[in-house]
């Protein structure tokens, strides 16, 4: 109990610091391009929060329920594209667009999950991949000129409410992203500690035993799938606001793979691990691009310069090293460091 209270205190402090961050005119040489309150930094931090929340939503199906889904990008893209189409193509108001997105974000994972969950393990992975690929192809096809195909769909001027548009208001978007992350953490924390959440983890450990106990694993798995898909769509909406447009990149199978990397990076089946994994991945992915243009790197011989200037090469290698040597992910490093004094 004491530990919980201490943890809550630390969390509260972190969230408070995050809230006041946009008021701090502090340069962070090496870590960030501009000062803390510059729009570029706030936008990057906002994106990190979105990916932290997205990784956590993926962890609900993959880490907590043990379902290896390769179609999570579809639900994220649903949030991005449905909102973008409603706002930019049909010129709906923000609440209307959000309402439509919420409905689609509930119905789509419910219907597809009901179908996909009739299979298991590798077949499940492949059916979810198939549906996500279908979604990706649909977006690229640009049906009725709605999605913009390969070029994506920019929101354009005047589409967003004034408080959310323009570089000056980046801090509002930052707060929205932060609030979204906090809400998603709270929901997932509550969900995995609720009675159904415990059944999810039991299904991950031994599904047959859950069935023998008289519970219907199918319904519980469907519940996890829908919750995870819905939260992912929410992350998609915030991502759309931060990016000011939709791009087909977020529909691809590679995008789902990066989510998998994020969750494993942080620690599978842990709340903070997934969030940290998402934040760290997005930060590195973004910052390593800038590193590749750094003058120190340009002077290196090509053998070193070429690999170091590819963020995905560094992230992929880091990922392999973690899988080989730190199976529990980054989160387990912290836990190990915490436990050592207790044992002594």
């Amino acid at each position: 109990m004491k530990r919980l209270r201490g943890g809550a205190l630390v969390l509260g402090v972190i969230v408070l610091v995050a809230i006041v961050l946009p008021f701090l005119h502090v340069p962070l040489p090496g870590l960030m391009e501009g000062t803390l309150d510059s729009p570029g930094t706030l936008n990057l931090l906002g994106l990190c929060f979105v990916f932290g929340a997205l990784a956590l939503s993926y962890d609900v199906v993959f880490g907590y329920t043990g379902l290896l889904s390769f179609g999570h990008a579809l639900y994220f893209a649903t949030g991005v594209y449905v909102t973008a189409i409603a706002l930019a193509r049909w010129h709906w108001s923000m609440p209307q667009a959000l309402a439509l997105t919420a409905v689609v974000a509930l119905v789509l994972p419910l219907v597809l999950g009901a179908i996909c969950l009739r299979t298991r393990e590798i077949s499940f992975a492949m059916v979810t991949l198939a549906f996500a690929e279908a979604g990706s192809l649909l977006v690229l096809q640009n049906p009725f000129g709605l999605t913009g195909g390969e070029e994506g769909l920019a929101l354009g001027a005047g589409v967003l409410p004034a408080a959310l548009a323009g570089v000056v208001n980046t801090r509002n978007l930052y707060w929205i992203a932060l609030a979204f992350l906090v809400v998603v953490c709270a929901i997932v924390w509550w969900a995995v500690n609720s009675p159904p959440g415990r059944v999810w983890q039991a299904i991950r450990e031994n599904e047959r035993r859950v069935a023998v106990l008289g519970l219907n694993p199918y319904l519980y798995k469907l519940g996890a799938f829908v919750l995870s898909g819905f939260l992912a769509s929410g992350a998609g909406v915030v991502y759309l606001l931060l990016q000011g447009g939709a791009n087909p990149q977020v529909t691809t199978a590679s995008f789902t793979l990066t989510l998998l990397v994020m969750v494993v990076l942080g620690g599978v089946g842990t709340l903070w691990g997934a969030v940290i994994g998402g934040i760290v991945y997005e930060y590195l992915d973004f910052r390593l691009v800038e590193l590749s243009n750094a003058s120190a790197l340009q002077n290196l011989p090509a053998v070193l310069r070429v690999p170091l200037s590819e963020p995905l090469f560094i992230l992929g290698t880091l990922f392999i090293v973690l899988v080989l040597f730190v199976p529990g992910g980054l989160g387990s490093l912290f836990r190990r460091a915490n436990r050592r004094p207790a044992n002594a």
Binding site: I122, A130, L257, V261, P327
Partner: protein
């Protein structure tokens, strides 16, 4: 009529490329239960190695250039796959998810490295004049690259079937697919069979990499990934672990894609293939020719 022949041969040519990638995936899955996400990376690395080899031989005769490129591609694919198995997959023998994740990391890192070294734009491939010409067949002008791909895939299918059914190692691989625990209980070193399927799969993927370069006339770093997804679909439709199943599914997928893309609308064929995958998995979870377990 000539349109139908043309579409059929193009579809078969595409199916041939899918099969070459899918064969290795299917064997690796069947024996080791590893979904090898790095298979597209074998394909990509092999095609770039082959391209570099043919650039280095720019002054030689086009046919010599092409054959050397073919050889270099196959050897690179095979070596890269063998090495990945030995260095990255073997240490994770008892950790299944870990093996899959390592191949994901390897795929990401390798494709990024190729992009860093060669750029992400497609590069044109030089090939003998005969390759880019067409031959008449039932009144249709068929591009020779299609014929080469189909013949090569058919040869690989025959060789693989011969290997699996007529040789001792083939017997071990087949027995391992059926029941791995029993094979190792009988005192046979299954580990060596693991390396072998990776080597075979990598070589086939390398061959596919070179043939795809001539098929499309260009190479680009992203093609391996899209090939991999098509090959996954083929393997699952055909039945995981079944080589003949993969061959059958590759033909079906290639033909379906070509005909629907032409007669319905561009993209409809690709769409139909994923729907076909979903339907097959829901109706026959083990795939067309897969053993239901």
């Amino acid at each position: 009529m000539s349109t139908i022949v043309l579409l059929a041969v193009t579809g078969l040519g595409l199916g041939a490329l899918y099969f070459l990638v899918a064969a290795g995936l299917s064997l690796i899955w069947g024996l080791m239960r590893v979904l090898n996400f790095a298979h597209g990376a074998f394909f990509t690395v092999a095609s770039y190695a082959a391209w570099s080899a043919s650039q280095a031989l720019a002054s030689a005769s086009p046919w010599l250039q092409w054959f050397v490129a073919l050889l270099v591609g196959m050897v690179t694919g095979g070596l890269f796959a063998t090495l990945s198995e030995a260095v990255l997959i073997r240490p994770l023998y008892q950790r299944h998810i870990g093996q899959v994740l390592v191949t994901v990391g390897l795929a990401l890192a390798t494709v990024a490295l190729v992009e860093g070294g060669f750029g992400s734009d497609p590069r044109p491939v030089s090939m003998p004049a005969w390759m880019s010409a067409t031959s008449p067949l039932f009144g249709a002008a068929i591009a020779n690259t299609r014929i080469v791909a189909i013949v090569a895939a058919a040869l690989v299918l025959l060789l693989l079937l011969f290997f699996l059914r007529r040789t001792r190692y083939g017997l071990i691989v087949r027995a391992g697919v059926e029941n791995r625990a029993m094979v190792s209980a009988l005192g046979i070193d299954v580990q060596r069979a693991f390396t072998l399927v990776f080597a075979i799969g990598g070589t086939a993927a390398g061959l596919a990499g070179v043939l795809a370069a001539t098929y499309y006339g260009t190479i680009d770093p992203a093609r391996g990934t899209s090939m991999l997804i098509s090959a996954f679909i083929v393997v699952v439709i055909g039945g995981l672990g079944s080589i003949t199943g993969s061959a059958l599914a590759a033909v079906i997928v290639g033909l379906l894609q070509q005909f629907l893309n032409f007669y319905a609308a561009t993209g409809v064929g690709d769409f139909a293939v994923v729907i076909l995958l979903a339907v097959v998995l829901l109706v026959r979870p083990a795939g067309l020719l897969g053993a239901s377990s």
